[in-house]
Protein backbone atom coordinates (compact mmCIF):
# COMPACT_ATOMS: atom_id res chain seq x y z
CA UNK A 1 0.00 0.00 0.00
CA UNK A 2 1.37 3.41 -0.83
CA UNK A 3 2.27 6.35 1.30
CA UNK A 4 0.52 9.50 0.20
CA UNK A 5 2.10 12.90 -0.02
CA UNK A 6 0.22 16.14 -0.54
CA UNK A 7 2.39 19.02 -1.71
CA UNK A 8 1.19 22.62 -1.66
CA UNK A 9 -2.41 21.66 -2.34
CA UNK A 10 -4.69 24.61 -3.05
CA UNK A 11 -8.40 24.08 -3.65
CA UNK A 12 -11.39 26.02 -2.34
CA UNK A 13 -10.64 26.75 1.31
CA UNK A 14 -7.45 24.63 1.33
CA UNK A 15 -4.29 26.71 1.03
CA UNK A 16 -0.80 25.33 0.62
CA UNK A 17 -1.61 22.07 2.36
CA UNK A 18 1.35 19.78 2.89
CA UNK A 19 0.69 16.42 4.44
CA UNK A 20 2.27 12.98 4.42
CA UNK A 21 0.30 9.84 5.17
CA UNK A 22 2.45 6.83 5.88
CA UNK A 23 2.07 3.41 4.33
CA UNK A 24 -0.73 1.42 6.06
CA UNK A 25 -1.40 4.33 8.39
CA UNK A 26 -4.86 5.29 9.69
CA UNK A 27 -4.79 9.07 9.53
CA UNK A 28 -7.75 11.00 10.88
CA UNK A 29 -8.34 14.44 9.42
CA UNK A 30 -10.09 16.39 12.13
CA UNK A 31 -11.75 19.75 11.65
CA UNK A 32 -14.97 21.68 11.97
CA UNK A 33 -17.51 22.06 9.17
CA UNK A 34 -16.07 23.96 6.21
CA UNK A 35 -12.48 23.45 7.34
CA UNK A 36 -11.58 21.73 4.06
CA UNK A 37 -11.54 18.09 5.18
CA UNK A 38 -13.70 16.68 2.39
CA UNK A 39 -11.92 18.83 -0.18
CA UNK A 40 -8.66 17.25 0.89
CA UNK A 41 -9.83 13.68 0.32
CA UNK A 42 -11.54 14.68 -2.92
CA UNK A 43 -8.13 15.93 -4.04
CA UNK A 44 -6.54 12.59 -3.11
CA UNK A 45 -9.32 10.75 -4.98
CA UNK A 46 -8.92 13.00 -8.02
CA UNK A 47 -12.57 14.04 -7.91
CA UNK A 48 -11.75 17.74 -8.16
CA UNK A 49 -9.17 19.79 -10.03
CA UNK A 50 -6.52 21.30 -7.80
CA UNK A 51 -3.23 23.11 -7.66
CA UNK A 52 -0.24 21.35 -6.14
CA UNK A 53 0.72 17.73 -6.30
CA UNK A 54 -0.44 14.39 -4.92
CA UNK A 55 2.08 11.55 -4.81
CA UNK A 56 1.42 7.87 -4.20
CA UNK A 57 4.67 6.21 -3.14
CA UNK A 58 6.58 9.20 -4.46
CA UNK A 59 4.94 9.03 -7.89
CA UNK A 60 2.74 12.00 -8.89
CA UNK A 61 -0.82 10.94 -9.71
CA UNK A 62 -2.10 14.40 -10.64
CA UNK A 63 -2.71 13.40 -14.24
CA UNK A 64 -4.56 10.22 -13.29
CA UNK A 65 -8.34 10.60 -13.39
CA UNK A 66 -10.38 9.38 -10.42
CA UNK A 67 -11.24 6.06 -12.06
CA UNK A 68 -7.54 5.20 -12.45
CA UNK A 69 -6.28 6.16 -8.99
CA UNK A 70 -7.40 2.93 -7.33
CA UNK A 71 -8.85 4.55 -4.26
CA UNK A 72 -11.77 3.28 -2.22
CA UNK A 73 -14.05 6.10 -1.16
CA UNK A 74 -16.73 5.82 1.50
CA UNK A 75 -18.96 8.86 1.14
CA UNK A 76 -20.67 10.65 3.99
CA UNK A 77 -24.10 9.72 2.60
CA UNK A 78 -22.75 6.24 1.68
CA UNK A 79 -24.35 6.69 -1.81
CA UNK A 80 -25.22 3.09 -2.50
CA UNK A 81 -26.63 2.83 -6.00
CA UNK A 82 -30.38 2.61 -5.31
CA UNK A 83 -31.23 0.64 -8.46
CA UNK A 84 -28.72 -2.14 -7.75
CA UNK A 85 -29.06 -4.81 -5.08
CA UNK A 86 -26.34 -5.45 -2.50
CA UNK A 87 -24.46 -7.95 -4.67
CA UNK A 88 -24.54 -5.66 -7.71
CA UNK A 89 -23.41 -2.71 -5.60
CA UNK A 90 -20.40 -4.61 -4.29
CA UNK A 91 -19.63 -6.04 -7.72
CA UNK A 92 -19.83 -2.66 -9.46
CA UNK A 93 -16.20 -1.68 -9.06
CA UNK A 94 -15.06 -5.16 -10.07
CA UNK A 95 -16.99 -5.27 -13.32
CA UNK A 96 -15.88 -1.68 -13.99
CA UNK A 97 -12.33 -3.02 -13.85
CA UNK A 98 -13.37 -5.81 -16.18
CA UNK A 99 -12.87 -8.72 -13.82
CA UNK A 100 -14.19 -12.03 -15.15
CA UNK A 101 -17.68 -12.99 -13.87
CA UNK A 102 -16.35 -15.96 -11.89
CA UNK A 103 -13.71 -13.78 -10.20
CA UNK A 104 -16.33 -11.14 -9.44
CA UNK A 105 -18.61 -13.74 -7.89
CA UNK A 106 -15.83 -15.17 -5.73
CA UNK A 107 -14.75 -11.73 -4.50
CA UNK A 108 -18.33 -10.64 -3.75
CA UNK A 109 -18.93 -13.82 -1.75
CA UNK A 110 -15.70 -13.24 0.14
CA UNK A 111 -16.81 -9.71 1.07
CA UNK A 112 -20.34 -10.79 2.01
CA UNK A 113 -18.70 -13.19 4.46
CA UNK A 114 -16.12 -10.69 5.68
CA UNK A 115 -18.74 -8.03 6.43
CA UNK A 116 -21.35 -10.50 7.72
CA UNK A 117 -23.94 -9.38 5.20
CA UNK A 118 -24.63 -12.58 3.31
CA UNK A 119 -28.29 -12.45 4.34
CA UNK A 120 -28.63 -9.02 2.67
CA UNK A 121 -27.31 -10.15 -0.72
CA UNK A 122 -30.49 -9.67 -2.73
CA UNK A 123 -31.81 -6.59 -0.94
CA UNK A 124 -31.94 -3.10 -2.39
CA UNK A 125 -30.47 -0.15 -0.47
CA UNK A 126 -33.90 1.18 0.52
CA UNK A 127 -34.49 -2.10 2.36
CA UNK A 128 -31.37 -1.72 4.53
CA UNK A 129 -30.88 -0.10 7.93
CA UNK A 130 -28.23 2.57 8.48
CA UNK A 131 -25.69 0.12 9.88
CA UNK A 132 -26.32 -2.39 7.09
CA UNK A 133 -25.90 0.30 4.45
CA UNK A 134 -22.63 1.26 6.05
CA UNK A 135 -21.32 -2.30 5.80
CA UNK A 136 -22.41 -2.67 2.19
CA UNK A 137 -20.84 0.67 1.27
CA UNK A 138 -17.61 -0.36 2.95
CA UNK A 139 -17.65 -3.73 1.18
CA UNK A 140 -18.16 -1.94 -2.13
CA UNK A 141 -15.30 0.47 -1.42
CA UNK A 142 -12.79 -2.24 -0.52
CA UNK A 143 -13.96 -4.79 -3.12
CA UNK A 144 -11.41 -3.87 -5.82
CA UNK A 145 -8.61 -3.93 -3.17
CA UNK A 146 -7.90 -0.20 -3.41
CA UNK A 147 -4.45 1.19 -2.73
CA UNK A 148 -5.91 3.91 -0.52
CA UNK A 149 -9.13 4.03 1.50
CA UNK A 150 -10.82 7.42 1.96
CA UNK A 151 -13.63 7.72 4.49
CA UNK A 152 -15.73 10.87 4.71
CA UNK A 153 -17.56 10.91 8.05
CA UNK A 154 -19.16 7.56 7.27
CA UNK A 155 -20.57 7.11 10.77
CA UNK A 156 -22.09 10.54 11.19
CA UNK A 157 -25.60 9.46 10.19
CA UNK A 158 -25.72 6.50 12.58
CA UNK A 159 -26.95 6.39 16.15
CA UNK A 160 -24.23 6.58 18.81
CA UNK A 161 -24.37 2.90 19.75
CA UNK A 162 -24.12 1.58 16.18
CA UNK A 163 -21.43 4.13 15.35
CA UNK A 164 -19.36 3.03 18.33
CA UNK A 165 -19.64 -0.63 17.33
CA UNK A 166 -18.82 0.00 13.69
CA UNK A 167 -15.91 2.25 14.63
CA UNK A 168 -14.18 -0.65 16.33
CA UNK A 169 -15.01 -2.96 13.45
CA UNK A 170 -13.73 -0.46 10.90
CA UNK A 171 -10.45 -0.04 12.72
CA UNK A 172 -9.96 -3.81 12.96
CA UNK A 173 -10.75 -4.21 9.29
CA UNK A 174 -8.24 -1.52 8.35
CA UNK A 175 -5.57 -3.31 10.38
CA UNK A 176 -6.39 -6.61 8.73
CA UNK A 177 -6.34 -5.18 5.20
CA UNK A 178 -3.31 -3.01 5.91
CA UNK A 179 -4.64 -0.32 3.61
CA UNK A 180 -3.47 3.29 3.90
CA UNK A 181 -6.53 5.11 5.21
CA UNK A 182 -7.62 8.72 5.51
CA UNK A 183 -10.65 9.19 7.74
CA UNK A 184 -12.40 12.54 7.90
CA UNK A 185 -14.39 13.54 10.97
CA UNK A 186 -15.35 16.52 13.10
CA UNK A 187 -15.75 14.30 16.17
CA UNK A 188 -12.66 14.49 18.39
CA UNK A 189 -13.44 11.35 20.38
CA UNK A 190 -14.05 9.38 17.18
CA UNK A 191 -10.70 10.58 15.88
CA UNK A 192 -8.88 9.76 19.11
CA UNK A 193 -10.39 6.27 19.18
CA UNK A 194 -9.38 5.39 15.64
CA UNK A 195 -6.32 7.33 14.57
CA UNK A 196 -2.71 6.29 14.32
CA UNK A 197 -2.13 10.00 13.77
CA UNK A 198 -4.48 12.95 13.60
CA UNK A 199 -4.23 15.98 11.32
CA UNK A 200 -6.12 18.92 12.76
CA UNK A 201 -7.24 21.19 9.96
CA UNK A 202 -8.64 24.68 10.42
CA UNK A 203 -9.71 27.11 7.75
CA UNK A 204 -7.95 25.11 5.03
CA UNK A 205 -4.65 24.86 6.87
CA UNK A 206 -3.14 21.88 8.64
CA UNK A 207 -2.57 23.08 12.20
CA UNK A 208 -1.06 19.98 13.73
CA UNK A 209 -0.25 16.40 12.74
CA UNK A 210 0.53 14.02 15.59
CA UNK A 211 -0.58 10.98 17.53
CA UNK A 212 -3.99 11.55 19.15
CA UNK A 213 -2.62 11.74 22.67
CA UNK A 214 -0.04 14.32 21.64
CA UNK A 215 -2.69 16.47 19.97
CA UNK A 216 -4.73 16.23 23.12
CA UNK A 217 -1.91 16.95 25.56
CA UNK A 218 0.29 19.20 23.46
CA UNK A 219 -1.95 21.22 21.17
CA UNK A 220 0.29 23.26 18.87
CA UNK A 221 -1.82 26.35 18.88
CA UNK A 222 -4.75 28.06 20.52
CA UNK A 223 -6.88 27.04 17.53
CA UNK A 224 -6.11 23.37 18.00
CA UNK A 225 -6.71 23.64 21.71
CA UNK A 226 -10.00 25.41 21.12
CA UNK A 227 -11.07 22.88 18.53
CA UNK A 228 -10.38 19.92 20.75
CA UNK A 229 -12.38 21.59 23.51
CA UNK A 230 -9.63 23.48 25.36
CA UNK A 231 -8.78 20.62 27.72
CA UNK A 232 -7.39 21.21 31.19
CA UNK A 233 -3.94 19.58 31.19
CA UNK A 234 -2.33 18.78 34.50
CA UNK A 235 1.23 17.59 35.12
CA UNK A 236 1.40 14.61 37.42
CA UNK A 237 4.03 14.39 40.16
CA UNK A 238 2.71 11.29 41.85
CA UNK A 239 1.46 7.94 40.56
CA UNK A 240 0.13 4.86 42.32
CA UNK A 241 -1.40 1.77 40.74
CA UNK A 242 -4.54 0.78 42.68
CA UNK A 243 -5.03 -2.37 40.59
CA UNK A 244 -7.93 -3.47 38.39
CA UNK A 245 -7.18 -0.76 35.88
CA UNK A 246 -7.42 2.12 38.34
CA UNK A 247 -4.56 4.45 39.25
CA UNK A 248 -4.20 7.36 41.60
CA UNK A 249 -2.26 10.37 40.36
CA UNK A 250 -1.26 13.54 42.08
CA UNK A 251 -1.28 16.78 40.09
CA UNK A 252 -0.06 19.82 42.02
CA UNK A 253 -1.83 18.76 45.16
CA UNK A 254 -4.94 17.31 43.50
CA UNK A 255 -5.31 13.58 43.99
CA UNK A 256 -7.21 12.05 41.10
CA UNK A 257 -8.51 8.53 40.63
CA UNK A 258 -8.29 7.59 37.01
CA UNK A 259 -9.02 4.47 34.95
CA UNK A 260 -5.75 3.58 33.30
CA UNK A 261 -4.26 0.34 32.12
CA UNK A 262 -0.68 1.16 31.35
CA UNK A 263 2.55 2.58 32.69
CA UNK A 264 3.48 5.70 34.57
CA UNK A 265 1.19 8.66 33.93
CA UNK A 266 2.94 11.98 33.30
CA UNK A 267 -0.08 14.13 32.47
CA UNK A 268 -3.83 13.98 32.65
CA UNK A 269 -6.35 15.93 30.61
CA UNK A 270 -10.01 16.65 31.10
CA UNK A 271 -12.31 18.69 28.90
CA UNK A 272 -14.08 21.62 30.58
CA UNK A 273 -17.48 20.16 29.71
CA UNK A 274 -16.60 17.07 31.73
CA UNK A 275 -16.19 19.01 34.98
CA UNK A 276 -19.37 19.12 37.03
CA UNK A 277 -19.87 22.41 38.97
CA UNK A 278 -22.16 22.75 42.01
CA UNK A 279 -22.87 25.51 44.55
CA UNK A 280 -23.46 22.96 47.29
CA UNK A 281 -21.44 19.92 48.30
CA UNK A 282 -22.63 16.99 46.17
CA UNK A 283 -24.13 14.20 48.30
CA UNK A 284 -22.45 10.79 48.68
CA UNK A 285 -18.94 9.63 48.06
CA UNK A 286 -17.29 12.06 45.72
CA UNK A 287 -14.45 10.58 43.70
CA UNK A 288 -12.37 13.37 42.18
CA UNK A 289 -14.47 15.97 44.00
CA UNK A 290 -12.84 19.25 45.07
CA UNK A 291 -13.66 22.66 46.42
CA UNK A 292 -12.38 25.81 44.74
CA UNK A 293 -12.87 29.51 44.14
CA UNK A 294 -14.17 31.07 40.95
CA UNK A 295 -11.58 33.43 39.50
CA UNK A 296 -13.22 34.33 36.18
CA UNK A 297 -16.41 33.80 34.21
CA UNK A 298 -16.72 34.24 30.46
CA UNK A 299 -19.64 33.47 28.11
CA UNK A 300 -18.69 31.39 25.06
CA UNK A 301 -21.57 30.89 22.63
CA UNK A 302 -24.29 28.87 24.30
CA UNK A 303 -21.99 27.88 27.13
CA UNK A 304 -20.27 29.75 29.94
CA UNK A 305 -16.65 29.11 30.83
CA UNK A 306 -15.77 29.25 34.50
CA UNK A 307 -12.19 29.37 35.77
CA UNK A 308 -11.80 27.82 39.20
CA UNK A 309 -8.76 27.88 41.46
CA UNK A 310 -8.34 24.53 43.24
CA UNK A 311 -5.29 24.30 45.49
CA UNK A 312 -3.41 26.68 43.17
CA UNK A 313 -4.39 24.64 40.10
CA UNK A 314 -6.38 26.61 37.60
CA UNK A 315 -9.16 24.52 36.06
CA UNK A 316 -11.67 25.62 33.45
CA UNK A 317 -15.18 24.22 33.57
CA UNK A 318 -17.90 24.75 31.01
CA UNK A 319 -21.63 24.76 31.69
CA UNK A 320 -24.60 25.35 29.42
CA UNK A 321 -25.85 28.97 29.55
CA UNK A 322 -29.34 27.99 30.67
CA UNK A 323 -27.88 26.01 33.57
CA UNK A 324 -25.52 28.85 34.48
CA UNK A 325 -28.47 31.26 34.62
CA UNK A 326 -30.21 29.05 37.16
CA UNK A 327 -27.10 28.98 39.35
CA UNK A 328 -25.93 31.83 41.48
CA UNK A 329 -22.27 31.91 40.47
CA UNK A 330 -19.93 34.85 40.69
CA UNK A 331 -16.23 35.60 40.83
CA UNK A 332 -14.84 34.91 44.31
CA UNK A 333 -17.53 32.40 45.17
CA UNK A 334 -16.65 28.98 46.60
CA UNK A 335 -17.91 26.07 44.49
CA UNK A 336 -17.69 22.30 44.43
CA UNK A 337 -16.46 20.48 41.38
CA UNK A 338 -16.27 16.86 40.27
CA UNK A 339 -13.91 15.72 37.51
CA UNK A 340 -15.79 12.91 35.78
CA UNK A 341 -13.53 9.92 36.29
CA UNK A 342 -14.16 8.11 33.02
CA UNK A 343 -13.56 11.27 31.02
CA UNK A 344 -10.05 11.87 32.32
CA UNK A 345 -7.41 10.91 29.77
CA UNK A 346 -3.89 9.92 30.71
CA UNK A 347 -0.62 10.53 28.92
CA UNK A 348 2.37 8.30 29.50
CA UNK A 349 4.91 9.87 27.15
CA UNK A 350 7.31 12.70 27.60
CA UNK A 351 7.05 16.20 26.20
CA UNK A 352 9.54 15.49 23.39
Amino acid sequence: MPSIELKNICKYVCREVNLTINDREFLVVLGSNGAGKTTLINVIAGLVDYQGSVLFDGVPVDRLPANKREVGYLFQGLVLFPHLDVVANIAYGLSAREWSPSRVEARVNELLDLMNIKHLASRYPRQLSGGEKQRVALARAIAPSPRVLLLDEPLSSLDAQTAKYLRTELKQLQRRLGVTTVYVTHDLMEGVAMADRMAVIHDGRVEQVAEPERVLFYPHSERVSDFIGAPNILDCDYYRDLGQGIVEVGCGGLKLTVPHDGGHVSKVAILPRHIYVSETRPPGLSVNGFQGTITAIKPAGNTVRIWIDVDHNKLMAEVQSYIFEEMNLDVGKEVFIILRMRRIRCYEGSAD
Binding site: A66, F75, G77, F81, H83
Partner: protein, 240 residues
Protein backbone atom coordinates in the same frame (compact mmCIF):
# COMPACT_ATOMS: atom_id res chain seq x y z
CA UNK B 1 -68.70 0.72 -11.40
CA UNK B 2 -68.91 4.52 -12.08
CA UNK B 3 -68.45 3.74 -15.79
CA UNK B 4 -71.35 1.25 -15.71
CA UNK B 5 -73.58 3.82 -13.98
CA UNK B 6 -72.59 6.44 -16.55
CA UNK B 7 -73.39 4.08 -19.45
CA UNK B 8 -76.74 3.10 -17.90
CA UNK B 9 -77.66 6.77 -17.44
CA UNK B 10 -76.63 7.49 -21.00
CA UNK B 11 -78.83 4.65 -22.29
CA UNK B 12 -81.73 5.84 -20.13
CA UNK B 13 -81.49 9.51 -21.13
CA UNK B 14 -81.29 8.63 -24.83
CA UNK B 15 -84.15 6.08 -24.67
CA UNK B 16 -86.46 8.37 -22.72
CA UNK B 17 -85.79 11.17 -25.18
CA UNK B 18 -84.90 13.67 -22.45
CA UNK B 19 -82.42 15.25 -24.82
CA UNK B 20 -83.69 16.31 -28.28
CA UNK B 21 -84.08 12.87 -29.73
CA UNK B 22 -82.20 9.97 -31.15
CA UNK B 23 -80.57 12.23 -33.66
CA UNK B 24 -78.27 14.09 -31.24
CA UNK B 25 -77.57 11.37 -28.71
CA UNK B 26 -77.99 7.78 -29.82
CA UNK B 27 -78.29 5.26 -26.96
CA UNK B 28 -75.16 3.45 -25.89
CA UNK B 29 -76.56 0.17 -27.27
CA UNK B 30 -76.83 1.74 -30.74
CA UNK B 31 -73.21 2.84 -30.49
CA UNK B 32 -72.22 -0.72 -29.54
CA UNK B 33 -74.12 -2.11 -32.52
CA UNK B 34 -72.44 0.43 -34.79
CA UNK B 35 -69.08 -0.46 -33.31
CA UNK B 36 -69.76 -4.11 -34.17
CA UNK B 37 -70.87 -3.28 -37.69
CA UNK B 38 -67.88 -1.03 -38.36
CA UNK B 39 -65.56 -3.72 -37.02
CA UNK B 40 -67.23 -6.51 -38.95
CA UNK B 41 -67.10 -4.57 -42.21
CA UNK B 42 -63.41 -3.87 -41.65
CA UNK B 43 -63.82 -0.07 -41.87
CA UNK B 44 -62.92 0.55 -38.25
CA UNK B 45 -60.01 -1.91 -38.30
CA UNK B 46 -58.55 -0.45 -41.47
CA UNK B 47 -58.70 3.15 -40.23
CA UNK B 48 -57.51 2.19 -36.76
CA UNK B 49 -54.54 0.36 -38.24
CA UNK B 50 -53.60 3.41 -40.35
CA UNK B 51 -53.64 5.62 -37.24
CA UNK B 52 -51.82 3.02 -35.13
CA UNK B 53 -48.96 2.61 -37.61
CA UNK B 54 -48.50 6.39 -37.85
CA UNK B 55 -48.52 6.76 -34.07
CA UNK B 56 -46.09 3.89 -33.56
CA UNK B 57 -43.58 5.09 -36.16
CA UNK B 58 -43.81 8.77 -35.17
CA UNK B 59 -43.79 8.13 -31.45
CA UNK B 60 -40.95 5.60 -31.51
CA UNK B 61 -38.79 7.80 -33.73
CA UNK B 62 -39.57 10.93 -31.69
CA UNK B 63 -38.95 9.21 -28.36
CA UNK B 64 -35.71 7.55 -29.43
CA UNK B 65 -34.45 10.85 -30.83
CA UNK B 66 -35.66 12.72 -27.71
CA UNK B 67 -33.93 10.28 -25.38
CA UNK B 68 -30.73 10.31 -27.46
CA UNK B 69 -30.46 14.10 -27.76
CA UNK B 70 -31.68 14.57 -24.17
CA UNK B 71 -29.03 12.17 -22.89
CA UNK B 72 -26.24 14.00 -24.67
CA UNK B 73 -27.59 17.37 -23.49
CA UNK B 74 -28.02 16.20 -19.90
CA UNK B 75 -24.58 14.57 -19.77
CA UNK B 76 -22.49 17.19 -21.58
CA UNK B 77 -22.89 20.73 -20.31
CA UNK B 78 -21.32 22.25 -23.43
CA UNK B 79 -23.84 20.60 -25.73
CA UNK B 80 -26.68 21.58 -23.45
CA UNK B 81 -25.55 25.19 -23.55
CA UNK B 82 -25.34 25.08 -27.34
CA UNK B 83 -28.64 23.35 -28.06
CA UNK B 84 -30.87 24.56 -25.27
CA UNK B 85 -31.56 28.05 -26.68
CA UNK B 86 -32.55 26.62 -30.08
CA UNK B 87 -34.75 23.92 -28.60
CA UNK B 88 -36.36 26.38 -26.19
CA UNK B 89 -37.39 28.39 -29.25
CA UNK B 90 -39.15 25.46 -30.95
CA UNK B 91 -40.62 23.74 -27.91
CA UNK B 92 -43.47 26.21 -27.20
CA UNK B 93 -44.88 25.91 -30.75
CA UNK B 94 -48.08 23.81 -30.53
CA UNK B 95 -47.69 20.62 -32.57
CA UNK B 96 -50.75 21.36 -34.70
CA UNK B 97 -49.28 24.77 -35.51
CA UNK B 98 -46.74 22.94 -37.68
CA UNK B 99 -49.45 21.54 -39.99
CA UNK B 100 -49.58 24.38 -42.55
CA UNK B 101 -45.81 24.49 -42.85
CA UNK B 102 -45.42 20.72 -43.03
CA UNK B 103 -48.18 20.44 -45.64
CA UNK B 104 -46.13 22.72 -47.85
CA UNK B 105 -42.79 21.15 -47.07
CA UNK B 106 -43.78 17.47 -47.03
CA UNK B 107 -47.08 17.45 -48.88
CA UNK B 108 -50.17 15.47 -47.94
CA UNK B 109 -48.84 11.98 -47.50
CA UNK B 110 -48.03 9.46 -44.79
CA UNK B 111 -45.00 11.45 -43.66
CA UNK B 112 -47.13 14.39 -42.57
CA UNK B 113 -48.87 12.77 -39.55
CA UNK B 114 -45.72 10.79 -38.72
CA UNK B 115 -43.67 14.00 -38.65
CA UNK B 116 -46.29 15.66 -36.46
CA UNK B 117 -46.20 12.77 -33.99
CA UNK B 118 -42.41 12.90 -34.09
CA UNK B 119 -42.46 16.59 -33.12
CA UNK B 120 -45.12 15.99 -30.50
CA UNK B 121 -43.03 13.26 -28.83
CA UNK B 122 -39.53 14.59 -29.37
CA UNK B 123 -39.52 17.79 -27.30
CA UNK B 124 -41.25 16.61 -24.10
CA UNK B 125 -39.28 13.34 -24.02
CA UNK B 126 -36.08 15.31 -24.60
CA UNK B 127 -36.81 17.73 -21.75
CA UNK B 128 -37.77 14.95 -19.37
CA UNK B 129 -34.59 13.06 -20.24
CA UNK B 130 -32.42 16.16 -19.69
CA UNK B 131 -34.12 16.79 -16.35
CA UNK B 132 -33.80 13.14 -15.33
CA UNK B 133 -30.10 13.03 -16.10
CA UNK B 134 -29.35 16.36 -14.48
CA UNK B 135 -31.23 15.32 -11.35
CA UNK B 136 -29.00 12.30 -10.75
CA UNK B 137 -27.10 13.06 -7.55
CA UNK B 138 -23.51 13.86 -8.47
CA UNK B 139 -22.31 11.73 -5.53
CA UNK B 140 -23.47 8.59 -7.41
CA UNK B 141 -21.31 9.63 -10.34
CA UNK B 142 -18.35 10.36 -8.06
CA UNK B 143 -18.80 7.01 -6.30
CA UNK B 144 -18.87 5.15 -9.62
CA UNK B 145 -15.80 7.06 -10.76
CA UNK B 146 -13.78 6.14 -7.68
CA UNK B 147 -14.83 2.53 -8.26
CA UNK B 148 -13.04 2.66 -11.58
CA UNK B 149 -15.95 3.18 -13.97
CA UNK B 150 -15.40 5.00 -17.24
CA UNK B 151 -17.71 7.84 -18.35
CA UNK B 152 -19.62 5.59 -20.74
CA UNK B 153 -20.10 2.93 -18.07
CA UNK B 154 -21.31 5.53 -15.59
CA UNK B 155 -23.76 6.87 -18.15
CA UNK B 156 -25.20 3.49 -19.09
CA UNK B 157 -25.16 1.76 -15.71
CA UNK B 158 -25.82 4.59 -13.24
CA UNK B 159 -27.13 7.76 -14.85
CA UNK B 160 -29.59 6.32 -17.37
CA UNK B 161 -31.22 3.85 -14.96
CA UNK B 162 -31.59 6.58 -12.34
CA UNK B 163 -33.07 8.95 -14.94
CA UNK B 164 -35.65 6.33 -16.00
CA UNK B 165 -38.50 7.59 -13.80
CA UNK B 166 -38.25 11.03 -15.42
CA UNK B 167 -37.92 9.59 -18.91
CA UNK B 168 -40.99 7.44 -18.35
CA UNK B 169 -42.99 10.45 -17.21
CA UNK B 170 -42.29 12.01 -20.59
CA UNK B 171 -43.07 8.82 -22.50
CA UNK B 172 -46.29 8.20 -20.60
CA UNK B 173 -47.69 11.68 -21.13
CA UNK B 174 -46.66 11.86 -24.76
CA UNK B 175 -47.99 8.39 -25.64
CA UNK B 176 -51.49 9.70 -24.92
CA UNK B 177 -50.78 13.03 -26.55
CA UNK B 178 -49.66 11.29 -29.76
CA UNK B 179 -53.19 9.90 -30.23
CA UNK B 180 -54.74 13.31 -29.73
CA UNK B 181 -52.39 14.80 -32.31
CA UNK B 182 -52.89 12.04 -34.90
CA UNK B 183 -56.67 12.44 -34.78
CA UNK B 184 -56.34 16.18 -35.32
CA UNK B 185 -53.88 15.70 -38.19
CA UNK B 186 -56.10 13.15 -39.90
CA UNK B 187 -59.15 15.37 -39.48
CA UNK B 188 -57.39 18.25 -41.14
CA UNK B 189 -55.12 16.76 -43.75
CA UNK B 190 -55.18 13.00 -44.29
CA UNK B 191 -58.06 11.04 -45.81
CA UNK B 192 -57.45 7.82 -43.83
CA UNK B 193 -57.34 6.90 -40.15
CA UNK B 194 -59.67 7.35 -37.21
CA UNK B 195 -59.56 11.14 -37.55
CA UNK B 196 -60.62 10.95 -41.18
CA UNK B 197 -63.43 8.52 -40.28
CA UNK B 198 -64.51 11.03 -37.67
CA UNK B 199 -64.72 13.79 -40.29
CA UNK B 200 -66.65 11.58 -42.70
CA UNK B 201 -69.14 10.70 -39.96
CA UNK B 202 -69.56 14.39 -39.21
CA UNK B 203 -70.36 15.07 -42.88
CA UNK B 204 -72.97 12.29 -42.82
CA UNK B 205 -74.25 13.42 -39.44
CA UNK B 206 -73.58 9.94 -38.03
CA UNK B 207 -73.26 10.72 -34.35
CA UNK B 208 -73.04 7.00 -33.46
CA UNK B 209 -69.90 6.64 -35.63
CA UNK B 210 -68.42 9.82 -34.15
CA UNK B 211 -68.93 8.40 -30.68
CA UNK B 212 -67.37 5.07 -31.73
CA UNK B 213 -64.29 6.94 -32.98
CA UNK B 214 -64.09 8.99 -29.78
CA UNK B 215 -64.31 5.85 -27.66
CA UNK B 216 -61.52 4.22 -29.70
CA UNK B 217 -59.44 7.36 -29.19
CA UNK B 218 -60.09 7.43 -25.45
CA UNK B 219 -59.24 3.75 -25.06
CA UNK B 220 -56.02 4.10 -27.06
CA UNK B 221 -54.87 7.12 -25.01
CA UNK B 222 -55.55 5.17 -21.85
CA UNK B 223 -53.94 1.95 -23.09
CA UNK B 224 -50.81 3.82 -24.22
CA UNK B 225 -50.42 5.60 -20.90
CA UNK B 226 -51.07 2.44 -18.90
CA UNK B 227 -48.57 0.52 -21.02
CA UNK B 228 -45.77 2.93 -20.06
CA UNK B 229 -46.94 3.02 -16.47
CA UNK B 230 -46.69 -0.78 -16.40
CA UNK B 231 -43.27 -0.72 -18.06
CA UNK B 232 -42.01 1.91 -15.62
CA UNK B 233 -43.20 -0.14 -12.67
CA UNK B 234 -41.57 -3.27 -14.06
CA UNK B 235 -38.25 -1.49 -14.43
CA UNK B 236 -38.12 0.74 -11.37
CA UNK B 237 -40.60 -0.41 -8.70
CA UNK B 238 -38.09 -2.84 -7.15
CA UNK B 239 -35.70 -0.12 -6.06
CA UNK B 240 -37.82 3.02 -5.76
Amino acid sequence: MPVAVFLALWELVARLGILPGHFFLPPFSTVVVEFYQLSASGVLGENFLSSLVRVLIGFCAGSVAGIAVGTVMGWKKVINKALNPVISLFYPIPTLGWIPLLMLWIGINEMLPITLIFICSFFPVLYNTVTGIKNVDSDYIKAARTLGASDSKILTTIVMPLALPNIFTGLRLEAGMAWRVIIAAEMVAIPTGIGALLMKAENLIRIDIIIVCLIVLAVMCLVSEKFFEYLENRLTARWR
